[in-house]
């Protein structure tokens, strides 16, 4: 697959209170951004079990985004702090699995930051397009024994 025909498959876990609302704002304001991020709404970025992220990569995601409220603004006080710590630790584990840390992104997007959500989707899609397909465990191409 050459890079010009490669469309990254990205999964985005967005917290319902800030980032999902921010994405909604980007939509209602008719901002355009690449459609590559498949959005999954969760109650809080702290709800994102690391198993969800691994499962996404295992099933063929080229990148995973977790997005929540800015630090200090969590609807549940500290869910996003937990998301931050899990993200940093999981990113290190993913590198040991051979998955570049750029493929696993954490962003803070508030309900009013439609423009930031647009920018995150733009940047993330282009970054992963440049990195190429992940194909972990042979998904999307080569098998291995």
């Amino acid at each position: 697959m050459n890079s010009s025909s490669f469309e990254p498959r990205l999964v985005g876990f967005l917290c319902t209170w800030c980032s999902y609302t921010g994405a909604d704002l980007a939509g209602t304001a008719r901002m355009t951004y690449p459609p590559n991020v498949r959005i999954i709404r969760v109650m809080c970025s702290g709800r994102v079990d690391p198993q969800f992220v691994l499962k996404a990569f295992e099933e063929g995601a080229d990148g995973v985004l977790i997005s929540g409220c800015h630090l200090g603004d969590c609807h549940y006080q500290e869910g996003n702090y937990k998301a931050l710590r899990r993200h940093r630790l999981l990113a290190r584990v993913l590198e040991q699995y051979g998955i570049e840390k750029e493929r696993f992104r954490l962003e803070w997007v508030s309900a009013s930051e439609g423009v930031k959500f647009q920018k995150v989707c733009d940047e993330f899609t282009e970054r992963i397009r440049a990195l190429g397909p992940l194909n972990h465990n042979g998904h999307g191409g080569a098998a291995h024994e």
Partner: protein, 326 residues
């Protein structure tokens, strides 16, 4: 030997041999087992050959206990043969159950492992740069060896497994309970792990010393601190996989003043033990800003190897990404 006694087989795949030892460790109780069953195949202890096993009718062995992961072609072949000959197959020990310690090799590839073992280690003298080959010709004869694979697999990745006896090695009580249940026909549903479905912390003597709000400010390795023999390891800043690990092991490590390393695998509710431990451990780290989180997380030496010490081949991602040669 009486034909009425159930027939039992034991086999050793990719593991250290500790699980074979765990059978012997039944002590005097092994006599009860031997009285109740006929051991028809046990290469480590009894002189049976593969052809003896092949000659047995399919399904004639009541239960085969297979320990070790599947790392070479010979092991997969024997696993298939034993499966065909057996009514029940029990994955015996952490390596057959989860992949185990040898499964950590899934962070490398066959070529990297061969490169280290046959060329790079200081003690290796290999001027002809020979490596094991599945087939080679010597003086006109074809010689064969089992093929070494890139990826270690748990037993259930190659054959259907009826039950799992967890642990490195399984506690004698678990083995005796499993054997008794099989002999009495009082078996749990197929696919069960034959140990309680509760976390290691549930049985831990140190559970009471766990503070109301457990936090970790600095991460320490066991050799860096004088460990208190009564206090929760996590409360002492030492990584202990107890919260994400199944109980029933008898807490031999804990009683030896060493933290849980996770050999019993996850409970039934959890798919990926390492990820679940990572989740729990990250949440109790005492760090509020990005720089502090990075600093603290960087003090964990080999996080993936620590969290997946026994379970890498059965984890969601199973191994390090293979570089695809195009």
């Amino acid at each position: 030997m009486s034909d009425s006694k159930p027939k039992v087989a034991f086999y050793w795949c990719s593991s250290c041999g500790g699980c074979e030892e765990s059978i012997v460790d039944l002590g005097a109780d092994i006599l009860k087992v031997v009285a109740a069953v006929d051991i028809v195949y046990w290469p480590v202890a009894l002189d049976f050959k593969k052809k003896d096993l092949e000659a047995m009718p399919d399904g004639s062995i009541a239960v085969s206990f297979i320990n070790g992961g599947i790392r070479m072609s010979e092991q997969e072949e024997m696993a298939h043969l034993l499966r065909r000959k057996s009514g029940l197959v029990v994955a015996h020990g952490a390596c057959a159950h989860l992949g185990g310690i040898p499964g950590l090799a899934n962070f490398w590839t066959k070529s990297a492992i061969f490169d280290t073992v046959y060329h790079k280690t200081f003690s290796t003298a290999n001027p002809s740069k020979a490596e094991p080959l599945a087939k080679s010709m010597v003086d006109g004869h074809e010689l064969t060896l089992p093929e070494f694979w890139d990826t270690v697999k748990p037993l259930d990745a190659v054959i259907d497994v009826d039950y799992y006896l967890p642990g490195c090695a399984p506690h004698r009580d678990l083995i005796l309970n499993a054997v008794t249940a099989i002999l009495e026909g009082k078996l749990p549903p197929k696919g069960a792990v034959l140990s309680p479905n509760t976390s290691c912390c549930d049985d831990c003597d140190r559970n009471e010393t766990k503070p109301e709000k457990l936090t970790v400010k600095e991460i320490k390795r066991p050799y860096e601190v004088l460990l208190d023999p009564k206090t929760c390891f996590l409360a002492q800043g030492v990584i202990c996989l107890g919260p994400a690990t199944r109980g029933g092991c008898g807490e031999r490590c804990i009683h030896g003043n060493m933290p849980c390393r996770g050999c019993m695998g996850p409970t039934d509710q959890v798919r990926d033990q390492g990820a679940k431990f990572l989740s729990a451990f990250a949440s109790i780290l005492e760090a509020k800003d990005e720089a502090e989180v990075d600093r603290l997380v960087d003090t964990i030496v080999d996080p993936a190897g620590t969290f997946y010490r026994f379970s890498l081949p059965s984890s969601i991602l199973k191994r390090k990404k293979m570089e695809v040669v195009r």
